[in-house]
Symmetry: C2
Subunit: 228 residues, 2 copies
DNA sequence: TACCAAATGTGACTAATGTCACCAACATGC
DNA sequence: GCATGTTGGTGACATTAGTCACATTTGGTA
């Protein structure tokens, strides 16, 4: 893959959309192109964090294993997203793993390169601050959901979060197994199954060969806000 | 309060400890000094976020009200902490309120001033990035706690989080009512009460005139890591 | 195609924790 | 010093969702 192709991919996505050419060029020059198969770990929990990744293609799951063995899925990342910036910034261990859930490529940037780029291109820091602000918002909203809502509204929220914005027939961005949905929404696989069955009867979602499709987006949003 | 006093207060605390004099001077010059009584709201959920606060003295509670009325306490802030940076950065609404829980003073900085300072002092952005990284870590660890642990270990974690680092006799930084502890740890007041009673019998904590004191720090840490 | 592993569906049971309904203790202000 | 509001203590009960134990289906591949 050459520099021009990389520049195109980067420019397509949010964070780098309004980067100047010089910034893009620097990123590409200083970054390493990485490729991963489905199931590969791009970042491993517990490792020292000396690099940052920019996802170029594919999807990856950010998850942590709690000390009692529970797997908690924090997010699913798509092309254009920055990964692993926290440990890079504060010098601590990686708190979560990132796993490719399909063939994936990324640009890897070392701390030295990152610091140089940051110093050279002032807007970069501001953009990164904004990315992190939105991460904190997302995390707070997960906490809110976990604390204040019962499983129904919570699952509704996570389904909505996975739903494609253009809402082409209510399909989800990712095809998650029920166990994985459980790890994402914080409920047991069995409970996910029962909830989906109920909603299926009520025509709120459809479950076809394991794939969830949202039929009644409005109703699901309503459930997501429910008092109980 | 004059500039020199402000500079001293700022310099005492984490984020600004290694600020140059020029940076401190700019902050003070461009900031507004604010004072609040106990119970005043420094930041109100839902407002547009056009300023950032640096707490100079006192303690404040960051909390959000979920749409079903639940109050969720996200953090307690002390002098030196930056507040309200998220909405300032991404231009969105404030997602949480910040309330003084004792008489409190703060430096308020507008977006324009903040952007100027950021542009002028490069290290500022990096420091802020680090602050935000640690916020994300904290939020992730709350999610982990909520998801993976039962109420016992969770309460233990929150008590430890409130415990003074120098551990002078295990006193807590703040004297929270049991309801407030509940909002912080995500459990009902009654359940907090029962849990504290049990631990009190086992000499893990002492409850004296409503104030919690940690007697057996090691045991509490052990509970905080427990499997169930 | 036949097999195996993984994913799904479902009933019965259990554990954890919230809710409700009190009463007691304490502090505060008049 | 009394009235009142807030906080703390505790029992009984309801509810939610997890766990366990299977049967069933699906999908991939030898």
């Amino acid at each position: 893959m050459n520099a021009e192709e990389l520049a195109n991919i980067l420019a397509e996505h949010s964070l780098f959309a309004n980067c100047g050419e010089a910034e893009l060029a620097d990123l590409i020059l200083r970054g390493h192109f990485m490729q991963y198969k489905k199931g590969d770990e791009l970042i491993m929990q517990g490792d020292p964090g000396n690099s940052l990744l920019i996802l170029l293609s594919g999807y990856a799951r950010t998850s942590m294993i709690a000390s009692n063995g529970h797997e908690i899925v924090l997010d699913y990342a798509e092309a254009g997203q920055v990964l692993g910036e926290i440990a890079l910034l504060d010098g601590g261990e990686r708190t979560a793993s990132v796993t490719a859930i399909e063939p994936t490529s990324a640009l890897s940037i070392t701390r030295e390169a990152f610091e140089e780029i940051l110093a050279k291109h002032k807007n970069m820091a501001l953009r990164l601050l904004q990315v992190m602000a939105s991460r904190i918002r997302m995390a707070n909203s997960m906490i809110e959901g976990d604390r204040a809502y019962t499983s129904g509204p919570r699952l509704a929220r996570y389904l909505l979060r996975l739903s494609v914005v253009g809402a082409e027939e209510g399909r989800l961005k990712l095809n998650l197994s029920q166990s994985e949905l459980g790890n994402f929404a914080g409920m047991s696989r069995e409970h996910i199954n029962r909830q989906l069955s109920t909603w299926s009867e009520d025509q709120i979602v459809a479950v076809e060969n394991g794939k969830v499709r949202i039929l009644d987006h409005a109703m699901l949003s309503h459930i997501a806000e429910a008092d109980s």
